[in-house]
Amino acid sequence: MEIIQQLVNGVSLGSIYALIALGYTMVYGIVKLINFAHGDVFMVGAFIGFYCISIFHLGFFPALVIAMVACAIFGVLIERIAYKPLRNATRIAALITAIGVSLFIEYGTIYARGAQPEAYPSNIVPLKSLELFGVKISGQSLLILGTSVFLMILLQFIVHKTKIGKAMRAVSHDMDAARLMGINVNNTISATFAIGSALAGAAGVIFGMYYTKIEPLMGIIPGLKAFVAAVLGGIGIIPGAMTGGLLLGVIEALVSASGYSLWRDGVAFVVLILILIFRPAGLFGKNVREKV
């Protein structure tokens, strides 16, 4: 039963990685940029959620929605100010800019409020835990899972059934052909950043509730792991990011459970190295050579 308990923990953690990984993969899919500032959007979401709850005494769901909306706007601003002017620049220039944006957000936050951590109140959602066949699943795990699954289904709906979702897929496949359909490429890219950032914001609030401690550099490690998850699933592929995130969470939980909890953070990068060696296009990717 212990192992099932660990699996449940792994899936909860993994669904947080998955939410962050979605933003990496959607943005990469459309502008071929690894947005290294994405983990910091996650951090900003955690803080916005925290302030909503502690200062304005809002509940979990209102805080979640506000953090998502604020992060969506933040993501669009980052894209318009930092990345859009570099749309036709070399990839390395954009990548270096992304690292710069990341550092700017991290240390801007420290400058604005200091480096000290905050603690999410532990009683935001008075949920009882559930006993199922001797496995104790905490109310929080259930809430995390429920929220993540709902958001992922919502995302699938947006991407496959709505006009903006179809435009996003068209632009990520062939920008000029999309233009010939009358699609406004700039707006579509902004929408992609908005959606990806909103998901990261949601992940931030969920993370804060689960681990309680938040601080300005908290986005770095989950951000990197979510990046690994996106690569694991196949960067640019939405179901890949979901699967990659969940898988990584479960792998970590199992590594901890087998008594190697000190290796928990390291194992993500072992996974990254292995996937790059044996299946560089990721689990869901076709191993094709890059088009010239």
Partner: protein, 235 residues
Amino acid sequence: MLKINDINVYYGNIHALKGVSLDINQGEIVTLIGANGAGKSTLLKTISGLLKPKNGEIVFEDEHIAGKVPQLIVKRGLGQVPEGRRVFSNMSVEENLELGAYLRKDKKGIREDFEKVYQLFPRLLERRKQLSGTLSGGEQQMLAMGRALMGQPRLLLLDEPSMGLAPLLVKQIFNIIEEINKTGTTILLVEQNANMALSIADRAYVIETGKIVASGSAEELSASDQIRNAYLGGH
């Protein structure tokens, strides 16, 4: 309907179009012929707003469109079937056609145009749920044309629709182009298959290394020795 006046287009410091002028009247089929690298696709991309001319004018139905964004140009009724089809291969036939109607809001009209496109290309109806990347080259060409028609263009630009197709299929595609023209869509047809293009066109332009070197009625150009030697394989 479309009037291009002395445009110059550059790729960095490559001068791809050198003072090109061209006219298209309502209802015509005009063909633009020229060898590889002459600048045909560059001209179509410039008309559609994918490239901006350094100078010169492009006037579509009394509106200056040079340098305007593509979505505005599409909205005005100027569609393009790009070279190499460029279908969205990760989406179904139906979704591709839907994207063709991206700027339209008239649900009823869109439904009617689906019918029309499926009538014109029954193959697309059979394969409407299939991923367009798995269609044959000919079917993809039909899809690219159907997709452009979904935008209700009054002027349709076609970039080498016969490329890579078997002769029988080429004939079929050209018949459909004539049919589209008869329903009131004006056509600018870019082709390397000059014989076929001249056979359905009213007028033609010949482009060589970025310059228009000849123009006239399709009969005139078909009869000209110079054109016959360069583009129609002698005789």
